[in-house]
Symmetry: C2
Subunit: 145 residues, 2 copies
DNA sequence: CTTATACTGAGATTGAATCTCATTATTATC
DNA sequence: GATAATAATGAGATTCAATCTCAGTATAAG
């Protein structure tokens, strides 16, 4: 019974492929490989991690691909407290999570909270058209108390 | 009627001075100058901006002072989308704000929202002792629509 | 004042991110 | 399938925020 585990996989990658073509960008192999690797992750990954995992794909290409995906709203940049930023896919459904970070050891855990989302959704600011948000909770994990 | 505008000024700088001594750190002039400059700001300022505004204070000292103030919980690091991080004082009262950023031009505006704070306050995560949080809203300002 | 040592700052170094540009791959047209 | 136009690539150079080094200095205790 493996089909269940794969039926939702590819949803983001597919929409990403569509949007890339719609934007007039070519479907090059290196870019596809970045998309596929991001698709496999459940949470954020750094640009240099992507670069390290993709042999034969240049650093510049990885950064350029991320930048384009970000502009297309397909990828979100997140500050996880470390020295580099993380990037994670943006589901077309709008479903997403935020992060809890241990300031001591750097451990990151994703979390979801409906009341939080509702509170954020209610915020309106004159002179600003809000499009996304980032929430990071900081603290200490049980290993670091 | 100027007294009203200054009566609350200095509260943070004072508590910072106390905490610095309590922590066994010396009250050196360069560190005091960093504290005073941070005290004057209503929102975040980058380390290099502090360095640029303080002649005769070295870059290393600025970064070290910020690091120590951060560890003492007197300063908060915020990602404002630019190339460098911003730092702002943490009021002893707990009163604070979050940020709205224009992804187009980089403009940053502080905002406060009680319902949001309440929602965050209700979040509990097993295995984590939460201590602070960062919220950033992204969008486009009226100049960039 | 003297001593012990925390602190400082100019400059070197690191490392994530960006840029350059000659070469290659993709797409449209024939 | 071949051809032309050009978007995309990647090795290496470059930028710049942030960190590190270490000899000299300032601070605070006695
Ligand atoms: Zn995540
Ligand atoms: Zn959310
Ligand atoms: Zn602020
Ligand atoms: Zn808050």
């Amino acid at each position: 019974m493996t089909p269940t585990s794969t039926e939702e996989t590819g949803t983001w990658a597919e929409s990403a492929r569509e949007r890339i073509s719609e934007a007039g960008l070519r479907r090059s192999t290196p870019r596809q490989r970045v998309v596929d690797l991001l698709d496999q992750q459940d949470c954020a990954i750094t640009a240099l991690e992507i670069d390290a995992r993709l042999d034969r794909v240049g650093r510049a290409t990885v950064y350029r691909a991320i930048e384009q995906l970000e502009e297309l709203g397909l990828v979100r940049k997140v500050d996880l407290g470390g020295s580099a930023f993380g990037y994670e896919k943006v589901e077309p459904s709008g479903h997403h999570h935020h992060h809890i970070v241990c300031d001591e050891c750097g451990k990151v855990e994703p979390f979801e909270d409906d009341a939080l989302e509702e509170a954020i959704h209610e915020i309106h600011r004159k002179g600003f058209k809000l499009e996304s948000h980032e929430v990071t909770l900081h603290g200490h994990c049980s290993d670091c108390d």
